[in-house]
């Protein structure tokens, strides 16, 4: 019987499929490579769409409004300079664009919960592709159609930006779930560390798109982005394999426990055995409920922790160029360039942290010290002098210790949480858990987006914003402190036992 089950897991004439069944730990196939690339590119494209919007913003504000009023010499002719399409001045338009950002973050965070649940119940590939296609259509309507048909309406923009948040939210839970399905716990930290660079790469790509096509008119970066998203969705539709089981390969984690049996390639019986299998296995797709996912060990703690951490992380992304520009009055392009160093630091931190956590076998034990180190760095950062080199270095370091843990939590740790031992092998929890962690995180980030301008306005001092960041980092640490303590005990026990074993061995040899 066991031979039957095993033979059903693979097709007779496919060599690739057989490979993952070997008990070796790091058996990576072409499927792994293509999954890595496809999910990476998909999420990078989605992120590029966001970056395009933020880089096109100032041009949009110009297109929506008349030239800032000069009473002495009004610029003529009116049809070139003074159409009040949506706002009187670019300043008013900028406020509206800030509102759009906040609206997007809230709808995105809400959408993540929903998409997470959907990802576990429907084919991950379909959900991801559909999400990308809808995002593309929404971006097209938001940026291109509105300009071509001259539909300048607040309601139009707000509606489609809410829809955009919901559609984009399908991306992260799906790609993390697909990656989590293919890459087992061993080496996950490192691989996910490299992989989570996709957001930053997407940002760079989006910025490049905006720079390349903005001169044709602001609608063209949106058009290019929408078309590329649809192309990407089409390729993913024909390429992504959501889980190793779909090609008959077993998941890496389980395959280790499974004893390899000789492959019986009987094509005649394969159909029959498939039937046997479908009745025998409980069901391959048994999603856990949203509330059970919250109760899984670690999920609630990491969600809260990530809410505070993502608040700080996103605030850095969005406000750093502005902060540098206003504090040191650097040129905006310089400030933008320097603030990408924070991104770079985040990637480095994610990879190194992932490697370390792979080495230890535990993750919180790496995350908590990093977060604690971040607190004094934040203090240093808030009191820096006007020097680009020093600021660049400190920014990178801040990226390593804030962006790094954030990347780890959003990718590798979430994947761990969604595929932990408490769950039965057949339970589908990964997408839901990812949705919960990232959804809570994005909610925190959305609140941060609203709070930071308020704090800054109230005290007229950026230092208070940094104190707020420090407080958030402290709460972040507190949220996962129980996990940290537990993991510390495990490590200490391990060291103790190894030490005593060594001593035992030493006695034995004596």
């Amino acid at each position: 019987m066991s031979a039957n089950i095993n033979s059903s897991q693979e097709t007779a004439n496919n060599v690739d499929v057989r490979l993952p069944q070997r008990p070796s730990k790091h058996r990576y196939t072409l499927y792994h490579l293509s999954t890595f690339i496809l999910t990476f590119v998909s999420y990078a494209m989605l992120h590029a769409a966001r970056k395009v919007f933020s880089n096109v913003k100032s041009t949009m504000a110009e297109e929506w409004s008349a030239v800032a009023n000069e009473t002495l010499n009004p610029i003529k002719p009116d049809q070139i300079w003074n159409q009040t399409r949506l706002f009187r001045s670019p300043g008013d338009a900028t406020i509206f664009l800030g509102v759009l950002d906040a609206v997007f973050m809230f709808s995105y965070s809400f959408g993540l919960f929903v998409s997470g649940i959907m990802g576990d119940r429907f084919d991950l590939r379909i959900v991801l592709c559909l999400g990308m296609v809808i995002t593309a259509v929404v971006i097209f309507l938001f940026g291109v159609v509105s300009e071509w048909l001259h539909i300048y309406s607040v309601a139009w923009y707000v509606c489609f930006w809410i829809l955009n948040g919901l559609a984009q939210s399908t991306g992260w839970p799906c790609v993390v779930a697909i990656m989590g399905n293919w890459f087992g716990k061993e080496g996950r930290g490192f691989i996910f560390g490299v992989w989570s660079a996709c957001a930053s790469i997407g940002n760079i790509f989006g910025a490049a798109l905006a720079a390349a096509f903005l001169s044709y008119g602001y609608e063209y970066p949106f058009l290019v982005c929408a078309v590329l998203l649809i192309c990407c969705a089409a390729i993913c539709f024909f390429a992504i394999i959501p889980s190793p089981e779909d090609v008959g390969a077993k998941e890496v984690e389980i395959s280790v426990e499974e004893t390899p049996t000789t492959t019986v390639d009987d094509q005649e019986t394969s159909e029959e055995t498939e039937l046997v299998v479908t009745t025998q296995e409980p069901t391959t797709n048994r999603p856990i409920t949203f509330f059970r996912a919250w109760l899984l060990p670690g999920v609630a703690m990491y969600s809260l922790c990530y809410a505070c951490l993502k608040l700080v992380n996103y605030s850095f992304f969005f406000w750093l160029p502005f902060y540098l520009h206003s504090k040191f009055s650097w040129q905006e392009s310089d400030a933008d360039l320097l603030s990408t160093l924070y991104d770079v630091g985040g990637i480095i931190g994610g990879i190194v942290g992932g490697l370390l956590s792979d080495f230890v076998g535990l993750r919180s034990i790496v995350v908590v010290p990093a977060l604690l180190i971040a607190i004094p760095i934040l203090f240093i950062f808030s009191n820096l002098a006007n020097n680009k080199a020093i600021n660049g270095v400190v920014m990178t370091v801040t990226g390593v210790f804030i962006g790094g843990p954030a990347n780890m939590i959003s990718a590798a740790i979430t994947a761990d949480l969604g595929r932990q031992e408490v769950l039965a092998a057949s339970d589908q929890a990964l997408s839901t858990v990812t949705g919960i962690v990232d959804g809570t995180g994005s909610f925190g980030a959305a609140i941060g987006q609203v709070l930071i301008p308020i704090i800054e306005k109230h005290w007229h001092d950026w230092r208070f914003v940094f104190y707020f960041f420090v407080l958030m980092m402290f709460i972040t640490c507190c949220c996962i402190l129980p996990l940290f303590v537990r993991e510390c005990k495990i490590v200490i026990n391990k060291i103790k036992s190894r030490y005593s074993a060594n001593r035992q061995r030493a006695y034995d040899t004596l």
Partner: protein, 219 residues
């Protein structure tokens, strides 16, 4: 000509301040300056207007003694590019409105104004400003290009200053730039972009399908 009269009567109808029957009106020109100028340019005088020989372009116009309280908006019904001389004297109620007056009168080089009305733009816009005695008023002579004297008129990117009548200017898009606020430059290569992206998508989809999803088992 009939067209002009028709349009001018319409203009009179909608503009209450301009109380004569039409622009050129029904009495003959009385301003000596206008008549002399018209003769010197071989123009044909029709009531108050002096037309460039055998065309509908007005060369000079006499608007004296019309009880005007604002400068009539001439641009709505005639081509003003050739208008060289305007006489507005003997209109004691005439008030200046710097925003609209003489807008678009690019060749206006002799502007007679009543005493209370200063030359628009004063020395910035005119080469010489003289008093006239009979009838009393001001003569603003020879327009200056306002764009040459002031560099801070068109500060918006990709635009340049183009003069548009006395003390008026346009900010137009530099060559190659177009669209609202001159923000656009060049034409998006639609065909090339769609061609490349569609072919790449098809090739990659086939490649990945062949190597990947072909092997997916359907249950």
């Amino acid at each position: 000509m009939i067209k002009l009269i028709l349009i001018s009567s319409f203009f009179v109808f909608i503009n209450g301040d301009f109380e004569t029957e039409s622009l050129c009106g029904d009495h003959n020109a009385t301003s000596k300056s206008i008549i002399d100028y018209c003769i010197s340019q071989n123009g044909s005088l029709k009531f108050r207007c002096c037309f460039l020989s055998n065309s509908s372009n007005i060369l000079a116009i006499d608007l004296t003694e019309m009880k005007l309280n604002k400068v009539p908006d001439l641009k709505e019904f005639t081509d003003l590019t050739n208008l060289t001389m305007v006489d507005l004297r003997l209109n004691p109620q005439l008030e200046s409105s710097t925003q609209d007056d003489f807008f678009g009168m690019l060749s206006l080089d002799y502007l007679y104004l009543p005493e209370q009305y200063p030359c628009p733009g004063e020395k910035h816009a005119w080469q010489s400003i003289n008093q006239t005695i009979d009838p009393k008023g001001i003569l603003c002579m020879y327009q200056k290009d306002v764009c040459i004297n002031s560099t801070n008129f068109c500060v918006e990117p990709n635009s340049y200053c183009a003069t548009n009548g006395p003390n008026h200017f346009f900010c137009l898009c530099k060559t190659g730039y177009y669209g609202y606020k001159c923000l656009r430059h060049g034409q998006f290569p639609m065909g090339k972009f769609f061609g490349i992206s569609i072919t790449t998508t098809i090739v990659l989809s086939i490649f990945f399908f062949w190597t990947q999803r072909r092997h997916v088992k359907k249950d």
